[in-house]
Symmetry: C2
Subunit: 498 residues, 2 copies
């Protein structure tokens, strides 16, 4: 084939793959937001069939040859990177039988439905066969790969480049060493009054306030749409179509705001990727560590800051006068940042949060080294919560069943939340030196911050690794110290322990 023919073949293939990916993404969003439950088996069996067709197309052996031939041609640097990345991803799945893949896809959908049901019914027993099947599937999928690395190492690498069990062991050792004493110190100090946060905040009113939040962060219907789901998520269709969800809790008016800002951090990343990457793997294959750095940056570094609420709090008080009229801004900020061991990861404060991740990391490591089976999982979960946070879940919905991730392909994903939080400290440190973040938040100029992130992080999409982005943006490779310093300074200050 001539170079032109190779290119034509490649581009046609890329386009048709992206069509199936789009269909599966929209079907997935639909499933998790609005699709009627009784139609699940009809839809899931057909979705799995389409996933199989997409799988076959992506793993077409002819395309592997075409890409290898292309790489022998003279290509521009970006395009070469794209083809190399496609090839690398294909190699992960090329030996997986399509039948197995389709069956796994269908099992994942059924497992998601079973998780939803088990969580509602507070019944982990019912979910056990599903999680068992999904874990086996993960092991089988990995076994088809041409790699001698441990299963969990490979799962970790599926979610972030240049990480390993050693990397995370060291990472979490620092977390444990630095944060456990900090938590103890903060727990011993005078605590903020948070009782006003537990009042009833009618959801219709929360939605009214959400309109203000979405306006403030410029997440508009031109390129985004927010829905609701049991577990908030973001799905990118293309750079101009980023769907997010949130979840409202009647006794926690800040949860939906922070989850919104979190998901919009993901959405902005994909929205701001350089248009030249749109529809290619260099836009799509952003790894989760750097991805979560953006969601966690927006959620915590911005969304829990005083400047953010200086702008929004008067409107919040206006919508909830009874609940908030007696609460000054300072008290509100302290309350929403209160450090207190709690059961639900997504509702955790910034300091205890990485311990939630540490627990999941340790459990996953044991699962995939075959030292922990599903029958022991709930007990192991509860034991670790006791050990690290001194608390115990009375209900599976606040324990082992709280997260969606283990119902599907989310193994090896959790550590990226903690890594992302740490990456964002390093990025935030540089950002604060270059622009006045506080002023931008206080005066309603969120776009100043987003433009800085676009320029320094988002535009690269998947074309750079998180280490490369950090080097370009902050001048050094990943350094956990920024994260530890940030947490110590912020929380000592908040608790008046400077």
């Amino acid at each position: 084939m001539t170079k032109e023919e190779l290119l034509k073949n490649y581009q046609d293939w890329r386009f048709s793959c992206s069509a199936y990916e789009m269909a599966l993404a929209i079907i997935g969003i639909d499933k998790q937001t609005v699709a009627p439950s009784a139609g699940a088996s009809y839809r899931d069996s057909r979705t799995a069939y389409l996933a199989g067709v997409a799988f076959e197309k992506r793993n077409d052996p002819k395309m592997k040859e075409i890409m290898e031939a292309l790489l022998k041609e003279d290509l521009d640097e970006t395009f070469r990177k794209e083809v190399e990345m496609e090839l690398k991803e294909i190699k992960k799945y090329q030996s997986v039988p399509q039948d197995f893949y389709v069956a796994h896809y269908e099992r994942s959908d059924a497992s998601y439905d079973a998780w939803l049901k088990a969580k509602k019914e507070e019944n982990f027993e019912k979910f056990k066969p599903y999680i068992q099947g999904i874990i086996e599937d993960q092991k089988t999928l990995i076994s088809y790969r041409d790699s001698q690395k441990e299963v969990y190492h490979q799962l970790l690498n599926d979610h972030e480049n240049e990480v390993s069990i050693e990397f995370y062991d060291e990472f979490f050792a620092t977390i444990k060493k630095e944060l456990v004493p900090l938590i103890q110190k903060l727990q011993a100090a005078k605590q903020p009054d948070t009782s006003f946060l537990e009042k009833e905040y009618p959801i219709a009113k929360q939605k009214e306030f959400m309109e203000e939040v979405l306006k403030y962060i410029h997440y508009t219907k031109d390129w985004g749409y927010q829905n609701e789901s049991e577990h908030p998520f973001t799905t990118g269709i293309c750079e101009n179509d980023l769907r997010t969800t949130t979840k409202y809790l009647i006794n926690n008016p800040v949860s939906s705001v922070l989850s919104t800002v979190h998901e919009c951090g993901h959405a902005y990343f994909e929205h701001n990727v350089h248009p030249k990457f749109d529809g290619t793997i260099l836009a799509k294959n952003i790894k989760m560590g750097i991805h979560e750095s953006q969601s966690r940056l927006l959620e915590n570094y911005l969304g829990r800051s005083e400047a953010f609420w200086q702008y929004l709090y008067p409107k919040f008080q206006e919508i909830f006068p009874e609940q908030l009229k007696e609460v000054p801004l300072k008290q509100f900020i302290w309350a929403i940042n209160r450090v207190k061991p709690s059961l639900v990861r997504t509702e955790a404060d910034e300091v205890t949060y990485p311990l939630h991740i540490l627990i999941r990391y340790e459990l996953e490591k044991e699962i995939f080294s075959n030292r922990l089976n599903v029958d022991e999982l709930e007990q192991a979960w509860n034991a670790k919560y006791q050990e690290y946070l001194g608390i115990h879940a009375d209900k599976p919905s606040e324990g082992i069943l709280q997260d969606v991730h283990w119902s599907g392909d989310g193994y090896g994903y959790f550590p990226t939340y903690a890594l992302g939080s740490a990456i964002s400290a390093q990025i935030f440190h540089t950002m604060e030196q270059q622009i006045d973040v506080t002023e931008a938040l206080r005066t309603g100029h969120f776009e100043i911050i987003m433009n800085w992130l676009k320029e320094n992080v988002h535009q690269y999409g998947a074309s750079l690794s998180f280490q490369e982005i950090l080097e370009k943006c902050t001048g050094e490779r990943f350094n956990i110290q920024y994260y530890i310093d940030y947490l110590k300074i912020k929380f000592n200050h908040l608790y008046d322990l400077d």
Copy 2:
């Protein structure tokens, strides 16, 4: 091939076709309800590609041979009917080139977007090239068929079996002869006060009432989901997944209720089709005349009745005390049934409604016999509204741009609304003899009515024609007299002209 092989091939093909249909349906719903506008071109090009794959699969010449071979085997009656219907549908498209089909699909999506925009901007000029292209496409699509019948005859038949231009000419001649004098007579009589309906009804409150309506008609999230769209519609995924939309108008609190009940009429039909037809063409290929008979039955015969509101009106008053506390039920019922020539079809009363359809029927007939071109269309539209209803649209959004149908494949569809309304009179006449409809509505037992319709109409799906259903259900073929009688009796009574 053995019979078993033929069957296996057929069933695999049917399943994979249904998978693509499901994907395209979900993508279509998404587009019309929530999808961000800036992502349209990315999505539409990929949707068109998938539509092409689906088209190729459906029109696979090998499958035509397999079905023809199957029909030579000994098959049970229902299955034979199914295969015959598939074959008949395939023959309509088998000569259409796939490239043309894909291009047409993409043009339809772009045309929908252009219609939305043109309607918003009150600018028919901008929509002209799109509607022009879509009309040309309709003619081209028909030209590939092996039929000597007129283009418009074939379009009419795509939307209902056993109808023709002659059939509709006669149908609308009766409509004109009987209803124009009735409208004149009602217009000359004392009119109800409808001013309270034009007050402001905040949309959040309308949504609160909608919860009551959905509960009353048992449209639940197990098998249905209601969203909003510019033009209300229903899409069936399978018997347990029926999506509907509605549209809220701030100065018309009844519009969203009636459009909801209308769309749920469609949804119930597909939900109640006998499970043995699920996933087959005998469930999917219900023609629009009989389909609209169910939507129009729910909307008008039930939704505009006094018994329906006897149950709901107290809740309606509770939610809108300022607007409705002085309005007794009788006055409310008369007001929502007021006969008055108006511009927007979907908001029209029952008596002027078929004249809106007559206008569209006459225009479509002229378009497809090449006697009317797009440049003359707006003028022709306005002239006919003047002639039949004595009114004139000042804005295209209330005139030529009001309906979604002409932006896509909706040509030949409109007449089924009037036919459906007339069919439902005949069905309703029988139903009233067999169950106490008033009592069921008044006491909140909507399921009694739905069960009757399931038993007598819905269960057959597409396995019987509308004439066959009428014969089974009412004991005679279609007879327009039931419709004329119903309208005369209802409205003479309402206007105290008995």
